[in-house]
């Protein structure tokens, strides 16, 4: 779905006059010095910058590379591709993942496809057009240099994947097929049925395992990074390693290297229910943040409008249904709340409210993700949601294919959507050929992440961040089929070219086990583990996680208000306090203990959740995937404020004050400057 159809108007039509801007977050943060990316050669035109940086980045010769070591945490598209490529270059690489194999990382679940500006269809696509769509899709909140580079290297990704044997869909002539995805005006999406993420990840995984066989990469599976080691021996901080826990034996180990790459994915599970995997977590990023790495735009989350709704309080995750369904399905709810429990087939046409078609006559059911999501929530909040009542509310809207089946015939619908309909039937036991599907929005992707410069290096020297875990390329929202693109762009092509500039100063001095930075990091890990196992409280980790998720979804989800966010911060603080005093974790630390693993992750989600709310409170504008109630046009549409908020919010950890009390976070602003693109406001009416 396009997040930005091409009907924009220039300028910023109606916003508060300058001086009207209220600092809603006053008292919750301190403002620090501005921050800037110093690695992008911004004196060059945007299309020259990446070539220039690849040339200026220093090199290490092959003999020296063998003496340089890199740790890669996370083995999804970004991590596996980075580790494989660094191994091929001859560096000594160690990878870490919490799963039992690198092949299981959650990149594997991506369905739709991967964008690339190949212009194989001759339909006018180009690197510039993909760049333009990406910046516009991000609602003008991404960094121009990074977004351009993403579009530029997209073409190489497809070549690499095909050479590895990734079986993309092909035409009868044997050439690659493309489809139009996300409503953009060109066909640039490469796909492998509905399993593109799986096929690309298997390609990267096989490249990684090839390097394991070659002896350049050592993989540590069922290992979780629990702390970052940052050494400062007088010449400034350097990231030198990680502390891990072997999830099978419980062993706490120190791994030292010349640089550390975090490719640990997004933090959507702070909402408890999301389309993320059960184990997806923020711990690696958050431990780095606590050690000084800035967190960029934490409030930027993407909500996907067409997921299978929650069926009860037992629900553990949400399953996405491709939004291609909105091309043929019509979305509606009953006009009368009294009808929500009736069989939808018995509700007469005039008693149905096709609300997207009513409110947005030009785009109808194809409005962008954020609008479709927000209106679904509005309908349910009005009491017109359908499906099972969970905790007092019916959270679902109908996605009806009756018209499409009548128009095109059932075989045509089966050919297009058969696998999705089957999946829906398996999960809900309802047949969408006979009765309308029910869908509801869910958290799907997080655009925010650790702050990085053009080299993908955080403000902590030697700490690099790739893929969904960083913040840089997507802005405030993300185009469909661009997540796979970013993961592989970072891992195969960007990071291996930029990390060498940092490593040219290495190898660095060995860090002994008794170095104060190592001792401190290990002690911090051990202290948390010991605490969890000795609290002897009454509530399970999951119950806290679920409650935290409810708070985040209610107040820091699709629509946010200053009042709601302040309430959320209070609720999170008191729940976190209770968590530390009352959580119940059984078992020991010397064996596989899944409750203990989850306790550490949820502890970090609490701290992240508070920062997300503060960031959302501070950003008093509606932008990308999120809507601020205080910032809307007269007819209720999102209103962005380029004059006051065209910057990246890079948050510095505020330290701890007292027993697990968080200090005040410090905001560093990075101004966003567009030289190749003009900022525009969107309109869908």
């Amino acid at each position: 779905m396009t997040d930005m159809p091409d009907t924009t108007t220039t300028g910023n039509p109606s916003h508060d006059a300058p001086g009207d801007v209220v600092d809603d977050a006053a008292g919750y943060y301190r403002e620090g010095d501005p921050i800037a990316d110093t690695k992008s050669p911004d004196d060059q035109p945007v299309e020259r910058r990446w070539s220039e940086r690849k040339f200026s980045a220093r090199m290490a010769n092959p003999a020296k590379r063998r003496t340089l070591s890199v740790i890669v945490v996370g083995t999804g598209l970004a991590g596996a591709s980075a580790a494989a490529t660094l191994g091929e270059a001859g560096y000594q690489v160690k990878t870490f993942c919490y799963q039992d194999s690198p092949r299981r990382a959650h990149s594997i679940a991506a369905q739709g496809g991967i964008n690339a500006a190949k212009n194989y269809k001759g339909d006018g696509d180009s690197v510039y057009r993909l760049f333009y769509d990406t910046v516009k899709g991000g609602d003008y909140r991404s960094r121009e240099s990074n977004s351009y580079r993403l579009a530029e290297v997209s073409v190489n990704i497809i070549d690499q994947a095909v050479a590895q044997g990734v079986p993309f869909a092909r035409e009868y002539g044997g050439l690659l097929d493309n489809r139009s995805f996300g409503g953009v005006q060109v066909s640039r999406t490469f796909y492998a049925r509905g399993q593109t993420g799986q096929q690309l990840l298997i390609g990267a995984y096989q490249a990684l395992e090839r390097q394991v066989a070659a002896g350049t990469v050592e993989t540590f599976t069922r290992h979780e990074m629990l702390e970052l080691v940052v050494v400062d021996d007088g010449s400034g901080p350097r990231t030198r390693g990680i502390i891990t826990r072997d999830l099978v034996t419980g062993a706490i180990d120190t791994h030292i290297a010349d640089a550390v790459v975090l490719a640990t994915g997004g933090y959507g599970n702070v909402y408890y229910l999301s389309t993320n995997a059960m184990g997806s977590n923020v711990t690696a990023s958050w431990r780095a943040h606590r050690k000084g790495a800035f967190f960029g735009n934490p409030c930027y989350t993407q909500i996907h409008p067409t997921c299978i709704p929650v069926s009860g309080t037992h629900q553990s995750k949400l399953t996405l249904m491709s939004e291609s369904l909105r091309n043929d399905g019509r979305i509606w709810v009953p006009k009368d709340p009294a009808d929500v429990t009736r069989d939808p087939r018995d509700i007469a046409e005039e008693d149905r409210d096709y609300y997207l078609e009513r409110i947005y006559p030009s785009f109808g059911n194809l409005v962008p993700r954020d609008i479709a999501s927000r209106q679904a929530k509005n309908m349910c909040d009005e009491g017109r949601g359908v499906g099972p009542e969970v905790e007092g509310v019916r959270r679902g809207v109908y996605l009806d294919f009756a018209d499409a089946i009548a128009r095109l015939g059932r075989p045509a619908i089966e050919a297009k959507y058969g696998n999705l309909f089957d999946m829906y039937t398996r999960i809900t036991a309802e047949d969408p050929y006979q009765t309308p599907m029910r869908v509801y929005p869910a958290i799907h992707y997080t655009m925010g992440g650790l702050w990085v410069d053009y080299d993908l290096q955080s403000n902590l020297p030697g700490l690099f961040v790739a893929g969904e875990a960083n913040f840089s390329d997507q802005g405030a929202n993300r185009l469909g089929a661009s997540a796979l693109m970013q993961g592989l762009a970072d891992g195969y092509f960007v990071l291996p070219n930029t990390i060498r500039d940092y490593l040219a100063d290495g190898p660095f001095d060995t860090v002994p086990d008794d170095h104060p930075a190592v001792v401190e990091a290990r002690a911090s890990v051990q202290e948390r583990i010991d605490h969890f196992l000795t609290v002897n409280g009454t509530r399970s980790v999951d119950s806290y996680h679920r409650e935290l998720g409810n708070i985040m979804w209610e107040y820091c989800g699709m629509e946010r208000s200053a009042e709601g966010l302040r309430k959320a911060i209070d609720l999170i603080r008191s729940l976190r306090d209770d968590f530390w005093r009352n959580v119940k974790v059984l078992g020991d630390s010397e064996s596989l203990n899944q409750s203990l693993e989850k306790a550490g992750r949820v502890a970090d989600f609490f701290e992240l959740g508070e920062l997300m709310c503060i960031d959302a409170l501070h950003r008093r504008e509606s932008c990308g995937g999120h809507f601020r109630a205080e910032s809307q046009t007269e007819d209720g549409e999102a209103l962005r404020h380029d004059d006051t908020f065209a910057f990246v919010s890079a948050w510095e950890f505020g330290g701890e004050s007292g027993a697990r009390e968080l200090g005040t976070p410090v905001l560093h602003k990075e101004d966003l400057v567009y030289t190749a693109i003009e900022m525009k406001q969107r309109s869908y009416k």
Partner: protein, 247 residues
């Protein structure tokens, strides 16, 4: 629904394991099988008994992390992964026996969790096409006939869950190896290493302690991704060809 669950509990790889019996009430037919175990674990935690360890991650049938022998069937009674199995496939009052994958190369780590790293080592032995990043020609340089691309895709949908091994009376991973050999062997890019690949992967398979294939077909019946049995014929054909070529 009310269920009786007989679940394999084993403290660690070295410990003796045995089946424990639990009663679980108020199971909703809309729960997935793993959500049913989540509910059991909440109940155990509240009662002071350590929760049952089991693997799962994506819970949408694609990562291959979940496993479980359910009443003696890998991934249970439906052709899907355990995470996509729902309780409506069972009846009120049922007794369900839940065990880990059973195969010597998949040692139990705890309760229902097994070590499947043997699969990674089989891939390391040759389950790839050797192409360094940046060395690839344009993606359209080599056309691939659609029928080959489609067959390669079908075999590449293997999720590496290990159900084929768990279902096989011989504990053979031939379906897993055959799927990879067929995926890469269908493509022009995979030809250069085709002989080496099959020889090395089969050698690693045997080295890990997986058994031989005797054409029973339980693997293909249990496979949640419906990888067909004929990939094992392809595997044997490729192996014979490689031997003829002097490997």
């Amino acid at each position: 629904m009310t269920l009786t669950l007989k679940i394999w509990r084993q403290a660690d790889a070295a410990a003796e394991g045995r089946l424990h019996t639990y009663q679980l009430d108020e199971v909703s037919p809309d729960m997935s099988f793993l959500e049913m175990l989540d509910v059991l674990n909440e109940q155990l935690n509240a009662a002071g008994e350590e929760p049952v360890a089991f693997d799962s991650d994506c819970r949408e049938g694609i990562c291959g992390m979940c496993s479980l022998m359910i009443n003696g069937e890998a991934h249970g009674p439906e052709v899907t992964t355990t995470c996509q199995l729902h309780m409506r496939s069972f009846a009120d009052g049922d007794t369900i026996t839940i065990e880990p994958w059973r195969a010597a190369p998949f040692p139990v780590l705890k309760d229902l969790v097994v070590d499947r790293s043997a699969f990674d080592r089989i891939i390391q032995s040759g389950g790839y096409i050797s192409v360094n990043t940046g060395a690839a020609p344009d993606a359209h340089a080599i056309p691939v006939p659609k029928q080959n691309a489609d067959r390669a895709f079908d075999m590449a949908t293997c999720i590496g869950c290990g159900a084929c091994v768990a279902a096989c009376p011989n504990g053979s991973a031939s379906l897993f190896v055959g799927a990879k050999v067929t995926h890469l062997g269908e493509l022009p890019q995979g030809q250069a290493e085709r002989d080496h690949r099959v020889v090395n992967m089969v050698a690693q398979h045997d080295h890990e302690g997986f058994g031989g294939c005797t054409n029973i077909g339980e693997c293909a019946a249990a496979c949640p991704k419906e990888i067909p049995l004929d990939v094992i014929s392809q595997l044997n054909r490729d192996l014979r060809a490689a031997m003829r070529h002097g490997h």
